[in-house]
């Protein structure tokens, strides 16, 4: 049977991808950000899974206002990096895992989560920047990836509780897959940031660190936090953090082993947060 061994949480700031693509990672501005991922890259080499379920949001690239799925799972064989307006990132195409993705879709839909199934889409920085952070500059990504896109652009986004419960349904789905796969679930986006209006640039270190504490220790209670607290305390785009609850919900009920924790301000407009949790 397949099993979920670990979860990874990270911001997916586009400027981080640009810093890597343009060779700026050793500049004083960026060095502290990438130093926070040195452990993670080694951990990734030592703990390469068979498949990653990567929870992220599309930023008006694959989905315009024509079609806005709340939860969308990619069941395609591969995905191309999107041209977000600056030209596509020079990173490898993403290889999917259609069999496990379809299995998860069937299982969680039967558990009352009405996922949209996507067989053709480009993937934007929300998905490729976490891979770059964890794997470095690669000729090919180390394993297949199942994209799970969450709408956090058009309000209302799914609640924290809905995300948490979807994570639990994904756990059940993976555990019923009849092949011995090692699966990781990644939750991406956040932490506090606001990209719009006169309040742009908001950062809330205290709230972010409390979020990290609670994600580790009391995720079910954290899942009760309403949207308005996210947008008030963590900025309008800080609401991306609900996606971390999907990855956390996919973990076992036993307390996780915290392998790595990192927090840094700023990367462009954003607070960078990062955790690696292993199932015990």
């Amino acid at each position: 049977m397949a099993r979920i061994t670990a979860s990874v949480y990270t911001s997916h700031v586009p400027a981080i991808g640009a810093a890597m693509d343009l060779g700026k990672t050793h500049e004083p501005y960026w060095q502290p950000v990438f130093a926070g991922y040195e452990f993670s890259r080694q951990w990734m080499k030592d703990n390469t899974p068979d498949v990653i379920v990567l929870v992220y949001n599309d930023h008006a690239n694959a989905f315009s206002l024509e079609l806005i799925p709340t939860f969308a799972i990619g069941t395609a064989a591969e995905y191309t990096p999107a041209d977000e307006g600056w030209g596509p990132r020079p990173v490898p195409k993403v290889i999917g895992h259609p069999e496990l993705a379809s299995h998860i879709a069937q299982s969680v839909i039967q558990d009352d989560f009405d996922l949209t199934i996507v067989n053709k889409m480009d993937v934007d920085h929300g998905l490729t920047v976490p891979l770059s952070l964890m794997c470095g500059r690669a000729q090919a990504w180390p394993c297949p990836v199942i994209p799970l896109a969450v709408n956090v652009v058009l309000y209302p986004v799914p609640s924290g509780k809905r995300c948490w419960n979807l994570g639990r349904a994904i756990r059940k789905a993976v555990e019923s897959y009849d092949a011995p796969l090692n699966v990781q679930v990644w939750g991406t986006g956040g932490m506090s940031h606001q990209l719009q209006g006169p309040r742009a640039g908001l950062i809330n270190k205290a709230w972010d660190n409390r979020f990290l504490d609670r994600l580790i220790d009391e995720p079910a209670t954290l899942a009760e936090v309403p949207h308005v607290e996210y947008v008030t305390e963590a900025g309008s785009e800080g609401i991306e953090l609900v996606m971390w609850l999907i990855a956390r919900g996919a973990m076992s009920d036993a307390p996780p082993r915290v392998r790595h924790r990192f927090y840094h301000v700023p990367a462009s407009n954003t607070a960078v947060g990062h955790l690696i949790l292993e199932n015990t």
Binding site: P14, A15, A18, Y29, H59, A60, N61, S64, L65, E66, A82, D83, E84, G85, W86, G87, V153, L154, Y155, P156, S192, Q194, L195, Q196, G197, P198, R199, A200, G201, L202, I203, N204, K205, W207, H227, V228, V231, T232, E233, A234, G235, S236, E237, V265, P266, S268, N269, A271
Partner: protein, 124 residues
């Protein structure tokens, strides 16, 4: 019964909800067209002509021509869509976000390096 919108009182913030999305539909869809290199080149060659191909309001067109992102957002734009205009102009997200704050590019960058905007900003 009316929908609950507890986020309407947030200072300096416009939440992109169904009402904003309806208002900004064509503005945002125009922005999506800039994901293609050919359309970026056509827009740069004649901005007004390009905008006139879309059923946008005159206010939306003027806001785009002025690169006034606060006006674009008031007219229903969303930052992830509007970012395609910034990308066409060669601007970063930081330059775009900073342009809405009344600060200079350097002042905004410096604020971020020093830990960002205080989360209590504008709150009573």
């Amino acid at each position: 019964m009316a929908l609950q919108k507890p986020y309407l009182g947030l200072p300096g913030t416009t939440i992109f909800d169904a009402e904003q999305a309806r208002k900004g539909y064509w503005l945002n869809q125009f922005c999506m067209s800039l994901m293609k290199a050919d359309n970026r080149a056509r827009f740069k060659a004649d901005e007004r002509k390009c905008l006139d191909e879309w059923p946008m309001t005159e206010e939306q067109k003027q806001a785009v021509l002025a690169r006034d992102l606060n006006r674009c957002i008031a007219a229903g734009g969303n930052i992830y869509f509007l970012a395609k205009i910034g990308a066409t102009d060669g601007k970063s997200f930081q330059q775009m976000a900073g342009s809405m704050t009344g600060m200079s590019e350097d002042e905004y960058r410096q604020m971020m390096v020093c830990g960002g905007r205080d989360p209590r900003w504008g709150r009573s």
